[in-house]
């Protein structure tokens, strides 16, 4: 139950970590029995040096890596931590978490590393990425644009909440590392000994480069006095603290991006079309019970407001209370315990105080005496759930404003789905909102009316319930954050999150110049006739802009007939000369698929060589009808190259090559344009 040292370590010098004794330390108490499990202090730490180390060592180390390298690094780190997860579970007990709670925190956090590792497949093999498409900015085609994303040159400073000491760090750090930025993590003191345990394993692994992760435990002190315009600051926690930190002088003066994700008054809605016998009624009760009891309701996304059709208020209250009654509370190491302790006795007191404010506007309908399964029921931070109820929620301001960060929620009656949306929005900005309904119409109406004030919305029904990750779970590929009270920030969201740590820059210039800079062929850029044929070159030998201008083919009626026969596609516009009146076609037209297939017939060099296969097509457009008599040729140009890692030692070393296929006719006009995806072998097959 205790960590390795009574005075926690400070990872302020890159990997390393100086352990120091200190008289002015803050103790960390076990949530289960109140004993001291560790102490923290930041006294004497030079936080300015931490910034300098991150910017001068960590940042250059990460920004020079490609996305593929960073992604593989994340995967190795995820595997490393996963193999050691039981150590983290052991430390986690003292935070009051059950095994399920800790699973969300520990394996959820590691899962985020895996997810962001996999995102490398959507990114190039360069330190930078492109954003959006190539933009023609002139009629003549000599001036164009593209947006490029480059890693910011500072450090990401993460100030995190106590509830998820592992996930809270990894959900953010995975993103900044993939983007190419280092971070300094400042976890909330109360559970920072668990964060420390993970940091130690990370540093010990040697997987991250120097300066990629630093960690500050204890008072945050002057941490925001060193930030500048190269950095990014994130905060997760209470709305009040977040707003205060965002107003730090240097953040405002230097326009430092500040990503705020604040606890909000999230609503769960029971659809008005649901009846007590429906599967959705039971699903709703289960979901609300889960949201109130997992982590003892200490989640930024927990359900604080339970919106119920007026005629189902009594039934819902009864079912929810019955469900809560069956949830055993106590020391999570004891058999049968489903709900653990709050993080501290102070937090219990805080929750009671906040609940009292809610009680001014709503009736407390459930808050039983505690029967805690614990050897120290008095010393532990235990608290039984509290259910409030109001039948006039429009007039119950406190229920929409006051957050009790614990197992506390308020039942509210609504009339009609539009009113439910109005009530949901009375939270003035939430991280998430769910509606339980099997009616698509009801879900549509609710979502369209409520989405503008929510960062995430779940529609729960019988079809998805088994696999649903639930109201309360942020996911790596989905944005986590919300407007207004929820802070206005966005975390994760797949590639979206990566962009928070990169600068987007609009590039302008000639297509040839932009092709060189972006490492992606830009339409209109110089084409270099390739000798030998591009199909005869290995991955390493291909250059962006390498082009094959093929021989040509005069399209005949025989082509159309033959193609109709082999494909079976006898669409009238291709084969029926009597049905073209009122169409855009003057004569029978060649199949678009014929034009693409014939283009391949023209550009393919058939003999066995480095090209392994064609695995797809992106953005094909048939831009001009091709009639018999037209003569088509192709320009096949190397557009983009992405080196792939070998799956194992026996795998062929290869990479993805995207080719631009430009099919033109005898007038020089383009008749079809497509990007094709191929796999090409590398020359160097050595490991």
């Amino acid at each position: 139950m205790t960590t390795s040292s009574p005075f926690l370590a400070h990872g302020i010098a890159g990997h390393l970590v100086s352990t120091k004794e200190n008289g002015n330390s803050t103790p960390i108490y076990s949530a289960l029995d109140g004993t001291v499990v560790a102490s923290t202090s930041t006294e004497g730490l030079d936080l300015s040096a931490a910034y300098t180390y991150a910017r001068e060592v960590g940042n250059p180390n990460l920004r020079k890596m490609t996305f593929q390298e960073r992604g593989r690094m994340l995967k190795r780190l995820a595997l490393h931590l996963h193999a050691r997860k039981e150590r983290f579970y052991e430390v986690s007990w003292s935070t009051g978490a059950t095994r399920t709670d800790a699973w969300i925190d520990i394996e959820g956090g590691i899962g985020n590393l895996f997810s962001y590792a996999s995102l490398r497949r959507k990114l190039p093999n360069t330190p930078f990425a492109l954003d959006g498409e190539s933009l023609g900015l002139s009629k003549g085609g000599t001036f164009s644009g593209h947006h490029i994303l480059t890693p910011r040159e500072g450090v990401a400073v993460h100030i995190n909440a106590f509830n998820f000491p592992v996930w809270g760090m990894l959900e953010k750090a995975a993103v900044n590392w993939l983007a190419g930025m280092p971070c300094i993590v400042k976890p909330a003191t109360a559970t920072s000994h668990l964060t420390e345990a993970v940091c130690r394993e990370i540093w010990a692994s040697g997987i991250l480069p120097d300066g990629a992760l630093q960690w500050v435990c204890g008072s945050a002190r002057d941490i925001l006095d060193h930030v500048d315009e190269r950095d990014v600051v994130t905060f997760t926690g209470s709305a009040a603290t977040g707003r205060k930190l965002r107003q730090a002088p240097r953040i405002q003066a230097l326009s430092v991006p500040f990503n705020l994700e604040a606890d909000s008054l999230n609503a769960a809605v029971l659809g008005a079309t649901v009846e007590p016998g429906d599967p959705e009624f039971e699903l709703f009760i289960k979901e609300v019970r889960k949201e109130m009891t997992v982590k003892c309701g200490q989640k930024c996304t927990a359900v604080r407001r339970i919106l119920v059709p007026r005629h189902l208020m009594d039934a819902t209250q009864e079912a929810l209370i019955a469900s809560l009654e069956r949830t055993a509370i106590g020391d999570p190491r004891k058999e049968g315990v489903r709900m653990g302790a709050l993080v501290s006795k102070d937090q219990v007191e805080e929750v009671r105080n906040q609940a009292a404010k809610i009680g001014r506007d709503a009736d407390l309908v459930y808050h039983p005496e505690g029967q805690f399964l614990s050897d120290a029921p008095e010393a532990g931070a235990f608290l039984t759930p509290m259910v409030f109820r109001t039948d006039r929620p429009m007039d119950a301001a406190a229920c929409h404003e006051v957050e009790a960060f614990g197992p506390v929620s308020t039942l509210m009656a609504y009339d009609g789905v539009e009113e439910a949306a109005v009530l949901a929005k009375m939270g003035r900005g939430s991280l998430c909102c769910s509606i339980t309904t099997h009616s698509p119409k009801e879900a549509q109406d609710f979502v369209y009316n409520a989405a503008s004030m929510h960062g995430r919305m779940l529609v729960l029904d019988r079809d998805c319930a088994k696999e649903s990750t639930g109201h309360g779970s942020p996911l790596p590929l989905l944005v986590h954050g919300g407007p207004g009270r929820a802070g206005g920030g966005e975390e994760m969201g797949g590639i979206r999150g990566v962009k928070h740590y990169m600068q987007r820059t609009a590039l302008q210039g000639s297509p040839t110049m932009l092709s060189a800079i972006t490492q992606q062929y830009q339409p209109g850029g110089a084409q270099i006739e390739s000798e030998p044929h591009v199909f005869r070159k290995h991955f390493e030998e291909l250059e962006i802009g390498d082009t094959v201008t093929t021989h040509k083919h005069t399209v005949t009626e025989a082509d159309i007939v033959n193609f109709a026969n082999v494909s079976g596609d006898n669409f009238y516009a291709h084969v029926d000369a009597t049905s073209l009146d009122g169409t855009i076609f003057e004569r029978r037209v060649a199949h678009g698929y014929f034009v693409l297939s014939k283009a391949a017939g023209l550009f393919v060099d058939p003999k066995k060589g480095p090209v392994l296969l064609n695995y797809g097509i992106e953005e094909a457009r048939f831009t001009k009808p091709v009639y018999p008599g037209a003569t088509i040729g192709v320009r096949l140009t190397v557009k983009e190259k992405i080196a792939q890692e070998k799956r194992d030692a026996d795998d062929i070393a290869k990479g993805i090559v995207k080719f631009l296929v430009d099919v033109y006719d005898e007038t020089g006009e383009t008749v079809a344009l497509a990007t094709i995806l191929t796999m090409v072998k590398m020359k160097n097959q050595a490991d």
Copy 2:
């Protein structure tokens, strides 16, 4: 030279406009001769009512429109204003602008309306849009996600700068209108009479719905005291004022998005590979001269720092001064005048004061006596250009910090492209930066090293010069904004800008439920077998999820041979059984294009009907090799529908229908997946 009324109107009640006399008004002086052209006041205005009107009338009017409707509205508005542009040019003289300056402002602003009107083609025919792709969130496929963008439910409040009274309004308003939000525009007082002239034409046109545009002229007073979490605030102007406004209590407390675009110390770099005889040398001189003199250098993007290879400092200084000497300054209505007046005499004084600060760290090498072509040379706000020079720019802090918002710039010597990047970044965040070079290597090195501190970068050379829009011009499809000193915001950028006025919400649920909400078929969603065949249904009759499950086809060697013959694609993997060693193929494999073509043969209903044509393919993937003996079938599902407007009365009424093509084999596994794009006729051909 004067506007219609001595007391400017206040468009605070939607279309309406109340003109009131007021004793405490602020006069607007002509920049050319100091006469009073108008007066402004906000005394007595109820700004809270303007917010209410926007939220309760303007917002619902706009948010219920689809993107197609909003886009067409923008196009009509652009045409309306374009037809009246000469009226705006007439008002513009008094701001000191030349015809060229006014062209940027007036036609640039209208051009932005046209650009955002065209963006509707990238958006759906619904009031909301989807963001990113469908996300599978579970192994079994019953739980998935998609991000939806809905219009925020408040108002966009735009606080604008004096330099572009028309463009400054329209570059922002076009974006919030396309997004479905109304706006309140507060232009800078000094040139607000020109903004007023445009607003009057907008209101008079009746093209915008009630409440879409309100306009406040004069002191901003309590304008930010009414903002809440539904709104968006933007500011364009000085960094100091922007930072101050961003700290308005309600903006901070309610996490109101604040998009700040601040004037910055933009650098133009002459590449070290350029020699005085090269075209790029002349281009560079011309560009810098233009940036210093257009709008008298009163542009947030103007070149304030001229970075020159040390050995070319004298040559550059000489050429630049010679070029500036040839620029006639004066009343822009006079023949030959190329540079007009600053906005006011006060501004001339302000520029002189700032220039004096720069003079502490650099030498003034050019600032001639004024010979102004004007009937009132003393009364007009004329100022000749100032060129400063420093050969030790690393030590010249003022040159990187002090902005003189006029025709003032500093020549700085650099050694090597990396140092040029360091110097460029000493501006601590800029809107744009350009390098003039014909060397891709030099451009690459500079961009990779400098991009993280710049919102836009231009590479100027002989290839793009003729069509280049120049260092100083923000463009509708490119982001405008920059980190740090430039404010950290982003304007425009095509669809990116639209997202600032919409809430992004992560939706989760069953694929069937999400298909209903998103109006886009989500993989795994319910498929409804269509009777009749989807090719027999008109646009209006097709429903998302409508599916045709086709007959099947057993692939044979004959298919492969026939396809190789008709396409000419004899790639070894398809036709040469002896060359498959070491490949992933066990036997000769069917062409990917054959599989797609045969799929069309299976799903096409050939008889003439509502389907007009297939114009493209998106995201085709060949997911499993198809060998002779495999039997393939297709599920063709309606994925998305976008109604198109008629080009003219004779045009066929039609829409885009995207179909998901899922080709599977006898094991049920998918062998190819693609989205195809078709045009489908509407049943209702009435106007």
